[in-house]
């Protein structure tokens, strides 16, 4: 019980924190830990310096916050000096939190001992993309991106299913567990491939369920499906 109530950085004798500290000191020497004992929180703060090939260093001032269930829950990184505009098109939340990925597509691996370094490397690539965005001056994000808000999740679902809105409309009843969407493994896949469901889209549907979580899937796909079917009726 004591272990469960203590802050994450004290659990297991503080081994995870010690492990992270060692790898951060080697890979990101500009960052250092700050422990707020009163709040029971740990912050990783300082600069990630990106060096251009011509040698120009660009320091980015950041703060990394850890959830209470770290390392199960993934950390969040904030750009705190406003070196970049904190706006959605630049993949920042208003408070400077970097939107590194769509949550179902998270690269965070709780059990990877080098997980925090991998996470910060992704953040470094994210900051490099910010610098490329500015250098190109086209107002176009240099790389792949998803749409704002719920649209981004729908894009993810469609991509895992391997099709567009039409395919999503076919699988929405299955994803939502509706009576009209009841299907057996050996039934023909509703995508029209004439293959058995278990050999066609079953694993994709399960992948969407696993990565989105059933409640959130109900919310995102349910809202879209209701809107689509109502529009059709009109």
């Amino acid at each position: 019980m004591h272990q469960r109530n203590s802050p994450w950085y004290q659990r297991g004798g503080g081994s995870r924190l010690a492990q992270d500290q060692a790898s951060i000191a080697e890979m990101f020497p500009g960052l250092s830990y700050r422990v707020d004992e009163t709040a029971g929180r740990v912050f990783l703060e300082g600069t990630i310096t990106l060096v251009a090939e011509c040698g120009v260093p660009t320091p980015i001032v950041v703060r990394v916050e850890f959830p209470s269930d770290y390392p199960q829950g993934e950390p969040h990184i904030f750009e705190i000096a406003e070196r970049f505009p904190h706006m959605p098109d630049r993949h920042f939340f208003a408070d400077g939190q970097c939107c590194l990925w769509l949550p179902p597509e998270s690269r965070w691996k709780p059990d990877d001992p080098e997980g925090l370094c991998r996470f910060l490397e992704e953040a470094a690539v994210f900051f490099d993309q910010q610098l490329v965005y500015e250098a190109e001056g086209k107002g176009i994000w240099p790389g792949e991106q998803r749409s704002h808000g719920d649209e981004g999740y729908l894009e993810f679902v469609q991509e895992v299913l391997g099709g567009g809105q039409q395919l999503l409309a076919v699988f929405a009843p299955i994803l939502l567990g509706l009576r009209t969407g009841h299907i057996q493994s050996n039934d023909q896949c509703p995508c029209g491939s004439r293959r058995k469901y278990k050999r066609c889209h079953k694993q994709h549907v399960e992948e969407v369920r696993r990565r989105m979580g059933s409640d959130f899937l109900q919310y995102i796909v349910g809202q879209w499906y209701t809107h689509t079917t109502e529009t059709k009726k009109m």
Partner: protein, 514 residues
């Protein structure tokens, strides 16, 4: 050849570490400035700065107008003009700072602190040069188009210093009068003065001046007889007959058949050039001026601040020269106060490669200014470089009187590059259309047309910006890995795999809801 942060940083630090303490004192007695001044021995000099330029020179030197002999006549004319002007300046007790192409920069500081005498000399020198060109020089060179003259003068304190290269030392002046005198020159054939000069003048010279609508005062034309009377009244002498005889003697001494010019397959060594050995090349002229420097030095009122400003000045001066010559294999033509003039002419006759090289050098200059100079000298925070570039056939030489020979670059495009720089703001690189149109896409895309500058302008373009823009769209394509290397300073992210590099495939970014 390219710009590199660490190399630039190290040489600036090394220069600053070995510069020694700068001494700035007021000049209180006459001295041989070329002997007295150095990088660290600087003097605040109250004086009248005069610029006189051949206002139609750009068109005289433009490409295609001259057959071989015509071109030689131009070289001969400029050489003899500079020698004659040098004699006149020295005859008036002035100091020839240098010629910037065909533009004279002279200083009158004797008698010390006598504003009226200095202003008188500044005005009468302009009138004499105008008379000289009209009555002696143009008739002597009747087979060339006539030179026309425009001038400007200002009076006040400027700091005199010198660059520190043995055997190639140049007098340099920084501060308002050295700058304003050049800025008030109009394109028309006018002789102009600042208010400071006008107010120091005696009544008889004020009577031939009037204030123009745009601010400066203008000197009315005077006849040769009236000029002689004014010279006599103010105790100055200029003998037309002696001047005319010298011009004729010089024509015999420097005959057309002895003047030679050729192309250059390797980088031009300026010290090898003379009236008898000129180079005519396809070259890109570049001018880089430290925007805000005149105000910075004028606002430096304490000795400590002046020392600080001169330290900044010399660091910028030396670093810009090293970027041009060391990093990008260009030729440094001249320092002109806080401005540097350079030329790129290699590979020979390859316009596209020259254009790319000169623009990369300009980006290197901006990189040094914005990154390394400011890292070493935080007090330079508000200084920016304004850069102008044009390309065309250019004559490169070292002309003028013995011991006073100046490196010069003559050509319409050299003049236009200077004008582009003057119309640009700090942080900008301005290109002529000719340069813009032959640049490779990865550089060209950073420039847009500016009606104000009348050229193609890029703002805040530094080496790392060019690098990131060039690789960005290539490496951040769907599923493409980038390579990340941890070094002593930080992380380098590139599209190239190298030893110790780790590959990362960036995830799609999700734009949060607004």
């Amino acid at each position: 050849m390219s710009w590199n942060y660490q190399r630039s940083y190290d040489r600036i630090r090394n220069h600053l570490d070995h510069m020694g303490e700068i001494e700035v004192a007021k000049l209180t007695r006459e001295a041989d400035l070329e002997q007295l001044l150095s990088e660290t021995t600087c003097r605040e000099i109250y004086g009248a700065h005069v610029y006189v330029q051949v206002s139609n020179f750009a068109s005289l030197a433009s490409d295609g107008l001259y057959a071989e002999d015509d071109y030689k006549r131009l070289i001969q004319g400029v050489h003899i003009y500079e020698r004659a002007v040098t004699r006149i300046v020295e005859g008036f007790g002035g100091v020839l700072v240098h010629f910037q192409g065909p533009k004279l920069h002279a200083l009158f500081y004797r008698p010390i602190d006598d504003g009226e005498q200095l202003a008188v000399r500044a005005v009468l020198l302009q009138l004499v040069l105008k008379d000289f060109v009209k009555t002696i020089f143009n008739p002597a060179f009747s087979d060339c188009d006539d030179f026309t003259i425009a001038g400007g003068a200002d009076l006040g304190n400027a700091i005199g210093t010198m660059d520190g290269i043995n055997g190639d030392r140049e007098l340099l002046f920084v501060g308002a009068p050295a700058n304003h005198a050049a800025k008030i020159i109009s394109t028309a054939q006018r002789l102009r003065l600042t208010k400071q000069v006008y107010e120091a003048l005696p009544d008889d010279l004020r009577a031939i001046c009037f204030q123009t609508d745009d601010g400066p005062y203008q000197v009315l034309p005077v006849s040769s007889d009236d000029l002689d009377a004014l010279l006599e009244a103010h105790g100055l002498t200029w003998n037309r007959d002696v001047s005319a005889r010298h011009v004729e003697e010089n024509k015999e001494r420097f005959p057309l058949e002895d003047i030679a010019y050729g192309s250059a397959e390797v980088r031009i060594e300026m010290d090898d050039l003379s009236i008898f050995n000129n180079k005519r090349v396809l070259g890109a002229s570049i001018f880089a001026d430290v925007s805000g420097f005149t105000r910075y030095i004028d606002e430096a009122t304490s000795d400590e601040k002046k020392q600080e400003a001169l330290r900044v000045f010399h660091a910028i001066r030396k670093e810009t020269a090293r970027v041009l010559t060391g990093d990008f294999n260009g030729v440094r033509i001249q320092y002109q106060g806080d401005r540097i003039q350079g030329l790129f002419h290699l590979p020979q006759d390859d316009g596209e490669a020259i254009a790319q090289q000169v623009v990369e050098a300009a980006v290197g200059l901006q990189s040094s200014m914005e990154h390394t100079l400011k890292a070493c000298l935080p007090e330079a925070e508000n200084l920016r470089l304004a850069i102008g570039i044009d390309m065309g056939t250019t004559l490169v030489s070292k002309l003028g009187a013995r011991g006073q020979r100046d490196r010069i670059c003559l050509g319409e495009e050299a003049e236009y590059a200077a004008q582009l720089e003057e119309r640009s703001e700090g942080g900008q690189i301005a290109l002529s259309r000719d340069v813009y149109e032959i640049l490779p896409d990865e550089l060209c895309k950073h420039f847009t047309y500016s009606a104000k500058v009348q050229g193609y302008v890029a703002t805040d373009l530094t080496a790392e910006k060019v690098e990131r823009a060039a690789r960005g769209s290539k490496i951040y394509q769907a599923g493409a890995a980038v390579f990340l290397t941890a070094g002593a300073i930080g992380l380098t992210i590139s599209g190239l795999k190298s030893a110790r590099a780790k590959s990362v495939i960036p995830e799609r970014r999700y734009a949060p809801k607004e």
